[in-house]
Every structure is written in C-alpha cells, then in structure tokens.
Symmetry: D2
Subunit: 296 residues, 4 copies
C-alpha cells in the first residue's frame, strides 16, 4: 500500500502522485486586485443566479458591496436543466456585469458552459465558474487551461472528493493552476434540502490539497431560511469564503428564487458571521494535519 | 397541496399532522439532574465506543468530566456488523458504567439493541441509545415507549429526515416523549469520510420539530483529525450538544479507534469550542423560522 | 492483496474467510414437502402484502395455487413505516394463513419483526421472512438462529451484497443454515420505480455463495405494469424463484395496492414466464464461474 | 394532480408536456442501411472500449460481425477520468474505424466528448455516442442537434430517468430526433459491480417515450463473468439491443479490460441469447401499457 496523506483519509493516492503538497507549506492564493482568495481574508461572492436586467444586477451589486461582499456573481449563460427554463442574456449579460464592476469595484464571477464561450467570457469575467454539471466536461477544462483567468470549480452532483481533485488536476495540467474549489452540496436521498452540504469536505480538501476552498450554502440548502446557519458552519470549519445567491426580490427571480436572500437578509447574514470570523485563527487549533505515511 | 411548514421544506406533512409545534413556543427539554438537553446548555456526551475494562472506562470518565463533558457514553452491548467483531461485555459493562457514574457524577448513555435487553439496561442507564441500524426497529421502539428513560435516537444510515421524525413519533406514541435526535452522518458515495455529516439536518430538525438535536462528529468523520472542525460546525448551526468518542489509547481500541480522540485531543476540542459557544445566541439571528402555510 | 473470488468481484474477502464454497459443488436447498428452493424447481411465492380477512386470503390462495405458485405469502404482523398505517391482524392473521395451507396445500411464508413474535410465528409459518428494515436487526437474527424454520432474508434498503451476506452469516452462525436470499431492489435516486432492482445481484450471489436467491419484483417496481418484465429478467439471470404480491382487488388493498397484481394478471405473468423457464439450463452457458485467485 | 402517464409512474409530467406519445402508436426507428434500431431487430453493437491499433480493431470487427453484431463500437477520443489514462488515437482512430466499416460492412459508433470534435467525427461515424459524463453537457447536445447523425445517449451516472429524457428532449429540440437511449447502470453503494444495472429502466422508458432503448451490460457489470446474464435480462425485458465491449485480448486492453469479452466469449453470449430472442414477442404479453390519466 502506498503511503497516504496523513494516514487517515482513504482515497487520496492520486493526490500523492502529483506530490503537490509534500514539503510545500505554501497554499495557493488566487489574487484579484487586493482580494486574496485562500489567504487570510474570508471572501464572500454574492449576487443573483442569473443576470436578468441592468437594474436588477446593479442594485444587487451595490447592496452586496455595501454589506461586505468582494466579488459579484451572476449568470449570463445558464444551464438548461430543462428545455423550458430561462437560458440567460448571453453577451448582453456580460456587459451588464462589466458595468456593475465599473460602478462598484467588485470583481466578477460568471459561469461558462461551452468551450465556444470561453474566449468571450474571459474578456469580461475575473473568475470563470465551472458548474456542477460541467465538472467532468474534460473538453471544457482543457480549454480553460489557457484562458488566463482563475477558475472556480464546483463539485459534481455526486462526485467524490477524489474525482473533484482529479478534475482540478486536469485543469492544472492544462496550464491553469489558479483554481478555487467550491463545495455546493451533493445529491443524497434527503429531500428536505436541495442537496446535502458535505461540510467535512472543507477540512478534508484543506488537508490534502493546497487550493482555496469555498462553500455555496445557497445551492446546498435550496431554501433560504437555513442559508445563514450553513454559512456559519462554513466559517467554523475553515472555509476561505462563500458563494451566495442574492436577489432584489427573490419571489420574482427567474431561477433559484427559493434559495436567494434579499438585501436585508444578506446584510443580516454578513453581520451574523462577524463574531465567528473574529475568533482568532490560532484558536482553531486541532485542525487537520498533514502527515505523510502512517498506519490506517 | 397541503400547507407546509414555513413554506420551504418539502417533506414534512407528517409532522404537520401531529400538530406538535403550532402555537407551541415550548421546546422539549430532556432533564438529567442539573443537565437540560435542549435548554440553554450545550451538552457534551463523551466516552469510548465500547466498555472494554473498568480501568479503561473509569480513566476516560474522569478525563472527559474534567474537560467539561456532562454525560458518559460507552457501549456494553455492541452491534455485530460482522460475526467476527467484538460484542461487548454485557451486564458486566453496565456495572462498570454505574461505577463510573458513582465516581464522577456523569450521567450514563449506552446502546440498546434488543427488546429483551431494555429492562436490564434501563436499570443502569440514564439515557437509552438507539443505534443507526435500529432506527427502524419498530418492535424495539415500542418497548422503549414504556422504559421510563429518555431515548437518544440516531438517524438511520440512509434515512431521510422525514423517516427519522417518523421513528421519533412512533416512540412518542408508544408513550415516551423524552427523545433526543442525533445526526451522525449518512451514507453517500464519498469515501474520504466514513459518513457524510448532514449539517443542515440540525437547523431543519430544529425548525420542524420541538426535540433537542445533537451531533455525533465521530461516526460522521471516521477519522479523528476532522472531528474538531465538525464539532465547531455543530455549535455554529445551533446543535444542543455533541456525542464524541474518546479512548485512553485510540490505537488500541477494540472498535472505532480511528475516529476516537485521546484525552488531550478531547480537552483541546473542548477548549476550541469555547469561543464559538460564547457568541451570544441572540447574535445568531436569521435562524430558521416557523411559518405555517406560505408559497413555495 | 488477498486472493479473491474468481478474480473479479471486489468485496468478498468476508465470504472467503468462511470458505463456504471452496471445493463444495453442493448448493443449499431449502426443502418444504416436495418443493426444493435452490434445486431445479423455479419456486413462486405469491399472495397479498397483508392478511386482511379470511375471504381475501383464501380466495387469493386458491387463485395463486391454481396459477402455479407453491408458497403463499401474507403478512400478519406489518411494519409500521408510519404511525398511521395498518399494522396487521396478528395471531388472527396467522390462523387464517394456516387455514389457507389446509385448504390449498401451499406452504406459508410470513414476516417476523420482533424477537418476541418468533415463537408464535414459527408455530404457524413454514418460512420466516425477515424484512428489509430488519436485515441488520442482529438481535432478531440471533433468535431466528434457533427457530427451527427456514428464513427468507430480504436485502436491506441500501445494503451492499457484502453486508447482505454478512447478515446471512450471522444467522447461520446462530444455528440456522436454512437461508433464502431475496433481492428486492435498493434505494437509489430514481423515482420512477419504488426501488431499483439490482438484477446483477442474482448472478453475483449465486457465484459467491451457496444459498438460493429469489427476486421480489413487486417491491422493486412499486407499479404493477412492469412486474412481469422484472419477473422475466429474474428467470433470465438464473434466480431460484420469485416473491410476488397478488390481491383480489389491488385498488382496495390496505397496503401496496399499486404494486399488487390481480388474479388474471398473475396468471398471465405465470404463463408469460413459461417459455423462459423452458430454455434448458445447459443453454445458459457462460454463467459466472468460481475461480479462486486470479488477477484483477 | 395532473394526469400522468398510465397512472403509475410518478415523475413524467415533463414528457407529458411535449405530448410525444399521445395518439402516436409509432415508435422511433433509427435506420442505418438495413438495420433498424427500435424496429423488430435486436441490434448488437460490439467492439473495444478504445481503438488501440488497426490490427486490434480489424480483428475485432471481423469477429463480432461473424458472431452476429451489426454495429462496431470503438473509442477514438477517450474521456480522461484521470489525467494519467489513455486518451485515444483521435483522427487516426477514426480512420481505422472507417477501414473496419469498409472491410466488414458494420456501421460505426464512436464517442464524441467535445463540441469541437462533432464535425470531424460526424464525417466518419454512423452513430455519435454521448457518454455518461456528457449527458448533461448541454452545449454538446446543442451542437449534436445539427450533426446529421443519429445519437446514442448514455444515461448519466446518477441521473433519474426524468433527467435522462430531459437531455433527450434538448437534443430533439435542437433538431435531431434520431436518438437511441442507453441504460448503462447507475452509481449506487454496491461495490461488487462497477455500476448497478437499472433493468427496470427499459420497460419504463419504452412505456413513456417512443425512443429505442438499448442496454450496455459491460459498464453495468464491470466484470465480464456476469455480462451474459445481464444481456439475457436485457432481452427478457424488451430492450432493442445491446452495447458490449469485446477485445482480442482483454488482459492487455488499455482500458476496461476487466469487463471486456474475448471473441469466444462474445460468440458464446450471442449463441446464449438465441433462445431468448426466439420467444415470440406476442408471448411477451403483459408489457407496460400506456394509459393517459388514471389514479395513483
């Protein structure tokens, strides 16, 4: 049996093969202006599921910036999980995102779903988001390898962490080491929530990889009332940030309204997190340690 | 469509039928001496997976009591997930547990797996634990209905929260309303951890039921290094307590050694939780609210 | 790496430890009068989910006997998957089952859910059925070890085949080697059917164990229209028999009506199977072979 | 509650919306020369996982053609489920496939994984295969809408049948109604087999859609010894064909060797199926019927 990461997790021979972490105390930090994802900051990305209109996006951008978010999310190209659902504004949406950046200074993250769209989206976005359904779209990962932008990679719907890291490696080997991992819940038999947030994924990924890890409590919950609790849990386990859906009027959102927060709710959530974020990191002793080898 | 709890969770018609919570601001508190589970205290239950010897148990009892645990766990009757595994000391183990209570003042929780054992275990234990594999053992739940002791009910390996609450209701209808729910992770495709801790189960259960909810981070993790992070997450989402495996020498434990903490690690975990527990509950605004009816 | 069964299945070290099959060409046959389950016969067990009345059961017994069933199923004690569901007639139901045996000559199979009920049920039944929710009820399995009746063991809702065989071994080690394994579908994300019939479980179990394996297409399907197709598949993969729900009037059944066949449908199903059963077993070459060792 | 397909399956409102089947007794037949998939023929597609060399492919093509296969499978572009695995010969592989068609008359099916490759693959292939990991790659489905070739769509790793049909609809709405559905097993907790063949998917899909449905027993099994049993089951439930992995020397295959048959084994499998295929379709009465409306 090969030596394993810290003698505990059972499935990361793969990671060991690339030797990413052995002897490397340094973690990857994805820098955007003065924001460092994976550094000491806790970075909140917020915004609507889809860019619906200039007014909707700009008002959201201002509200989330004021509440402390550093990055604006918003989909210009939407996955059509059904042939009847909203498909996004396309380039028009990208232009609205750019305008929001100009007005608020927020960096922009938006999803890319097609190899063909990589180039145009890279012109407008600061971070390219790869959605859950695309985590194993290897052709897309290859093209993103040379897009010149950091990539936020969402975990697949039922992917193991090993498969998740494997997708990250394909991206890295294609030339792009600027990767942010995003835990967003996995499919289980539970129906009370849209997905099951695998909160343990955060300390596991922080132990076996050097990449920043953020949490999307909105898609995990599927209902807005428990988003704040999941956000607190993400802080408590050491996540590097959050990706949260915010909409001026969730009841009227074209997609994901049930899980979106309105501006007041988002501000409350940000306030709610402060005392948790204020706990000195050194107090968070007893975190997962990296020990090469060791018995099971 | 029937009205649903707070218009958000999709599966709790069942709960609505019993009308447990409508108009009832009162939560169930399970009281043991001066400990109130489900009240303002955060109650930690700790101890070995199995009672192996008097010396092992008594030393653990002292260590966990000193670190702040209020309840001692320890299995006298063990489930045989394989015909070759350790099956517990039986009544001998119960006597050792009683001795530990006398010496430390800790209340005792231990598992019951057979209808036949209910009576004898109820003589010794303060809380009867129903394990994951027994959650749907309705015959056992019926007998526990009249055992005169509170019951800690663990969620089934792949049970939905609706099924979990249904088992709790069977117990309540059999005459025993003193129930503590325990989230201990569910089976998913992830193999890095033994189970996947469904951290969202805590706020969901606290919203739709009136029962105390505790978290077992040890069985969820399967590896000790991430137990503290999961324990912090449990505090952050509003759990009423924890159930944690502690062993004088985890490397030599007859069962579950990989996920057990030693005394130092347990003390560190308890220290680590303090600042999280110190955050005033009022700061935890924006928690799930109970609203009858409402749109989806 | 240990040698494995036939170098192919990845999880049966457990079985290898008991050495059941090495050098043993003999398969277990569970004999009831002139019926041999696990021998050359293809044995169909049929009847209602629950014994509801004498009239309902006797008419069903006659109908299924005439159509070729050899064993009558019917629940006298029902699991209460909800506190509101029908719980069975108890001893009264057992007496009705006995009367049906006297009138038709069919052997009787009925479910046992409680250790306490084992003795009384064993007085009336020819085969004791352990339901899906009880597969890991080790206390019950222990008591059944000395009940003097064959046991039909249903696979747990999300059990692996290794866990299934482990439960069978616990029963065998408790003194009862007369075991029939029953594949009845496992829980998956699919909702079109009640469960997902793991048809591959039949050839795998027939390869790695010496026990008879039957299929319950009714619980797997959940809807009657595909029960016949699943029954044909069971014959095609080499199952030793079937367990099928039949009711005089499925629309009025107190439980499982959607998946029950009426008498005509059951007769059609039995006719439908004949040409598949007539294919000589020797034609079914190329079946799983047992080879000790071998590469992966 | 909306009317549902035949009053039984619970999840196909979506299908009902397109009204594909109401009043349409006609099934889709995908025709390739004298082969009609979805018509009376039972069509076997066979060949290696990957095209490794001209010699490997041509010898396989001859062997499977002689045994009765009508279509040759072989991957020229391979998904890299790990950055270290074989990625295929690309255009070179396509040329070898064309040569095999010229020599044997077999039609060709090969996988497409990238939008960019659609055009070149469509020049060489008779059927475009969309793999499990690409079922939800909507950008790829859009491009395939106008590729001018039939598409074989594999079910996603944990997709429900509703999601599967939704992907098929996206393809159809993009302009390509020539679709073959392929059940290839879904991910479950079972580890004895690579995936769990959802054999019930065949009668369900045949009931609620008008598309041909074939079964891939090789990926479902993961081990060759049970491939023949699963192939028989596919015939018994009414599948329109099979997709099977065959390799001259499975022990030396660059991918999927464990589940590939050698030439003799494939011939035996084809012989083994004959008596099952010879059972007159009319004998297969009692198949799922389409009834609009009806109670649950």
């Amino acid at each position: 049996m090969n030596p394993k990461w810290n003698g505990q997790f059972s499935c990361f021979d793969l990671v060991a093969r690339t030797g990413d972490r052995i002897g490397q105390p340094v973690h990857t930090v994805v820098s955007l202006g003065d924001v460092g994802i994976g550094a000491d900051d806790f970075v909140v990305m917020a915004g609507p599921c889809a860019v619906e209109s200039e007014r909707q996006l700009l008002s959201t951008a201002e509200a989330v910036a004021e509440a402390g978010a550093r990055i604006l999310r918003g989909g210009a190209y939407k996955p059509r999980s059904s042939p009847y659902s909203f498909q996004g504004l396309g380039v028009e949406g990208l232009k609205i995102l750019r305008k929001a950046r100009e007005q608020t200074g927020l960096a922009i993250i938006t999803e890319v779903m097609s190899e063909e769209d990589v180039e145009v989206i890279a012109e407008y976005a600061d971070i390219m988001q790869v959605g859950t359904r695309s985590m194993e779209n290897y052709a897309l990962l290859e093209v993103l390898g040379s897009c010149g932008r950091p990539v936020l990679l969402k975990r697949g719907m039922t992917s193991t962490l090993e498969e998740f890291l494997c997708a990250a490696q394909i991206l890295a080997m294609a030339g792009n080491p600027q990767i942010i991992l995003c835990e967003r819940g996995i499919r289980t038999f539970e129906t009370a929530t849209r997905n099951t947030l695998d909160i343990a994924a955060v300390p596991v990924l922080k132990t076996v990889s050097h990449l920043p890890v953020i949490v999307d409590p909105s898609h995990a919950a599927g209902v807005r009332s428990i988003v704040p609790a999941l956000a607190r849990a993400a802080v408590a386990v050491g996540a590097d940030g959050l990706l949260i859906e915010v909409h001026p009027c969730p009841e009227k959102a074209l997609s994901d309204g049930n899980q979106s927060l309105n501006f007041t709710e988002f501000r409350d959530l940000m306030d709610d997190l402060q005392p948790y974020l204020a706990i000195p990191q050194e107090k968070r002793e007893f975190r997962p340690r990296l020990v090469v080898g060791g018995a099971d």
